[in-house]
Symmetry: C2
Subunit: 174 residues, 2 copies
């Protein structure tokens, strides 16, 4: 085994034909592009209720979230949202339409949120969830929501519930 | 300068707490996550016409495309689409709404396409474009479009032109 104890000798420069500064290896010229990451998730509905999952993992252990997570290579955004509901809530879901695309620039994350429904009313906590529940609007634990974008998605969805055609949402204007 | 001639000793394994196989460095345990990349772009409108840019760079030099490109860290998806129109067509645009989210799994790319309009009727080719033009529907060079998703966006937009509220599109079903 080759034991390497030194990290690459990156310097900041604008590569040929590029317009942004990047980390470029002084030795071999490798350009280390850093790209925003994609999270996909969904508001999963059944009988007028919405699925929430209580997080078993950091960050925000114990707080409530929508089934969502990092998109993998080789899947579509819709497949990624379906996989996350399967992994976090053992739930088979059907994607209905796009609700919102949010950007969280501070953590370079783009969140693509769908409306979906349960294929059948069967669900249980996956390894990343402590609990899974289906709640009505007056049962949402607003003070114990894990992330601001979960609140955005819930409030924006509530504003168009029952409407078929609407433009998808972006980050709410503060 | 440290000259390193060997690449990391990656092996495929499922890291603790993960559900997917990743490249993990045998030496230091570094997990090399590979994530889908985000392209943002827009259909830029003015006076019933649409902006097309003829590509000056590979791939597909000489073919027509919409102003679009890779999203950078630190910007929102909307800012990224505005920047691309500025870079490729020296055009200041206003984002109107989301048109479509496409996934191209083969190249692990998610394309987020907006409807936009010119802030003022001023544009010219940037360094990545040979030509920029505003065209009517009957002037679109359909046989010389650079990428399938450009055709998808144009055809899907045509199907809802003049409609205010519609659900955004995804990849067309073949």
């Amino acid at each position: 085994m080759t034991v390497k104890t030194q990290s690459p000798d990156f310097r900041r420069e604008i590569p040929d034909g590029d317009s942004h500064e990047r980390d470029v290896c002084s030795t071999c010229g490798f350009v280390h592009y850093v790209n925003p990451k994609i999270v996909t998730g969904s508001i999963v509905r059944h009988d007028g209720r919405i699925m929430l999952c209580r997080r078993a993992i950091e960050p925000r252990v114990g707080f409530w979230t929508l089934p969502a997570g990092f998109m993998e290579v080789g899947e579509t955004t819709e497949q990624a949202a379906m996989r996350e509901a399967q992994e976090e809530a053992n739930a088979a879901i059907v994607i209905d339409r796009l609700l919102a695309v949010y950007t969280i620039p501070r953590i370079a994350q783009v969140q693509i949120m769908y409306l979906a429904h349960l294929r059948e009313p069967v669900f249980s906590p996956g390894p990343e969830s402590l609990e899974v529940m289906m709640v009505g609007w007056d049962e949402i634990p607003w003070d114990d929501i894990a992330f601001p974008s979960v609140t955005w998605a819930l409030e924006q969805y509530r504003s168009v519930e029952g409407v078929e055609d609407f433009a998808p949402f972006s980050n709410p204007v503060p």
